[in-house]
């Protein structure tokens, strides 16, 4: 039962994540990302982490993605602008990601191992940087904080990307005031 739920939500997560990165329309992409977040909550539920699942819905699906949608709509980037042609360079990215994925899989000798990793490590690995357990109290705190810096940098970058080409309009608006 639990494994069926895990596979169901995991599958939904992968499909919706793929759809999220392939949609042209930014609002549709954001919506698929919402489904990814909800499926992730479902995966947490299947792993028996009820609180984490609710927090996942509350924080990511409920707050952060609404904010994402809000910004996407407010900025209102025309869909045509996003139709950039496929670059050959990005193929290398796909190859590299695939290699990492294969390497990751081959490290697991059998499927049993995968299940153990999924059930045992996921929940602990998620909790330990924040709460810590026993001797390794906050062992990953630095990595965790660095990750948050990365997210801030990404958000700033997104703002910068959106702002370019809009300078004139905003200056005019300032003059009006």
């Amino acid at each position: 039962m639990r494994e069926a739920a895990f596979l169901l939500f995991g599958g939904a997560m992968i499909i919706s994540a793929l759809l999220a990165v392939t949609r042209r329309n930014p609002v549709h992409a954001a919506l698929w990302l919402v489904l990814t977040m909800l499926s992730l909550a479902g995966v947490y539920l299947a792993l028996g982490a009820v609180f984490l699942a609710m927090a996942q819905i509350f924080v990511y699906a409920g707050a952060i993605m609404v904010l994402f949608l809000f910004v996407v709509m407010l900025v209102g980037a025309p869909v045509e602008e996003l139709k950039t042609p496929f670059r050959k360079g990005s193929l290398w990215g796909v190859v590299a990601a695939g290699a990492v994925f294969v390497a990751f899989l081959t490290r697991m000798p059998a499927l049993e191992r995968v299940r153990v990793v999924v059930f045992e490590v996921t929940a602990r690995a998620l909790a330990s940087p924040l709460i810590g357990s026993g001797g390794n109290w906050g062992r990953h705190a630095l990595a965790f904080e660095l990750g948050s810096v990365l997210v801030v940098a990404a958000i700033l970058g997104a703002i910068l990307m959106v702002r370019t080409g809009r300078e004139e309009i905003s200056e005019e608006a300032d003059d009006d005031r």
Partner: protein, 365 residues
């Protein structure tokens, strides 16, 4: 499994009927408050044509019953209306939005304890669909999904009025979730549990509202204001301000899709009232039942107790619903900057300091 199914079906039925009739109550109460009549024409004239019932109650085609037939007429109208889809809408998102509006609200009711446990055929049945150990967080999580409906409705309609309404609604719902969450946290901290069932059980002697006066009363007031704002009700109905935005996010909706938004709004009021009743007003607990039972021992019979408990809960929820209608008849709409200033500069700091005060008091006493 069967019991669960029956409970869900019963809750659905009761809720939908209550929503239909609250619309009638609202129109009548607004009528009285504004010195006019409200809908009083549509009766059950059709009952007069029935063979036995018509004779028994002396129904005629003129039987009006204070306009009690109005919700049925309204429902039939909405069901049979043509669902117009304007040109240029984003089809799937446009159809998804009304469903997303109703779904989270009904999901929220799954954890609300409506009455005490009752023995049915030798089994103890809880009057609650699911008792989650994290019920409070679940309510907040599910409630936060409600904003997708208005945002998507506003965006997909391809209309400036809808779009502005949707953006306003999203900003408003995110902003008012915050003080609501903090105020609810006060209760959670006090009772030390996230399960709604245990929160109700902990209020057997004294309602949370009356603990540590005046701090819990302040938390209750903040939660009430936020619950009204979350349901987009007057005076917080900026997302559908008719004088500037036509109908706001649901301008371009008609027929059953509009009816779903309508249902969601009223179901939201009920959910808000249920949350407030459970967290602050003792849930289904009946005041002074211990003293009364000494005189009338029949009150402690499980079924009598159950009926009284459910009535007590319903009364509390309905008091909140009436309060919402009252507000609508009394207060003018906020201006947008007032709305935002109110939550970020007044409610949120107030709720945070309130939480701190209760934390300190709880540690000292």
């Amino acid at each position: 499994m069967l019991i669960l199914f029956l409970k869900t079906a019963l809750l659905f039925g009761v809720l939908l009927t209550a929503i239909a009739y609250v619309v009638w109550v609202e129109r009548r109460v607004l009528g009285v408050m504004q010195a006019r009549l409200g809908p009083n024409r549509v009766g059950f004239g059709i009952l007069a044509t029935l063979p036995v019932v018509g004779r028994l109650f002396r129904f005629t085609k003129e039987t009006r019953l204070f306009g009690l037939g109005q919700p049925i007429a309204d429902g039939l109208k909405l069901f049979t209306k043509e669902g117009i889809e304007p040109a240029g809408v984003d089809p799937w998102t446009y159809r998804l939005a009304p469903i997303l509006g109703l779904l989270p609200v009904f999901l929220g009711f799954a954890v609300v304890p409506i009455g005490p446990d009752v023995p049915v055929l030798g089994r103890i049945v809880t009057t609650q669909i699911a008792d989650l150990p994290v019920g409070v967080i679940y309510l907040l999580a599910v409630g936060s999904l409600g904003s997708y409906s208005v945002v998507l409705a506003g965006w997909s309609s391809n209309s400036k009025f809808s779009f502005l309404g949707g953006l306003r609604a999203a900003a408003q719902m995110i902003s008012y979730e915050l003080p609501m969450g903090i105020a609810i946290l006060t209760v959670v901290m006090l009772t030390g549990t996230l399960s709604l069932r245990e929160i109700v059980a902990a209020q057997g002697d004294i309602w949370n509202l009356f603990r540590f006066p005046p701090f819990l009363i302040l938390a209750f007031v903040i939660s009430t204001i936020c619950a009204v704002a979350e349901a987009n009700r007057a005076p917080f109905d900026l997302p559908e301000a008719e004088s500037e935005l036509v109908g706001g996010f649901h301008t371009e909706y008609s027929g059953m899709k509009f009816a779903l938004f309508f249902l969601a709004e009223y179901a939201h009021i009920f959910l808000g009232g249920s949350i407030l009743a459970v967290l602050f007003l003792g849930g289904w607990n009946i005041p002074f039942i211990g003293t009364l039972a000494k005189v009338l021992p029949v009150l402690l019979n499980p079924w009598v107790y159950w009926i009284l408990g459910v009535l007590s809960f319903a009364l509390k929820v309905f008091a909140y619903v009436f309060f919402c209608i009252w507000l609508r008849a009394t207060l003018p709409r906020f201006r947008y900057d007032q709305l935002m200033n109110f939550t970020w500069k007044v409610l949120t700091p107030l709720a945070a300091f309130n939480l701190l005060a209760v934390a300190v008091l709880g540690k000292l006493l």
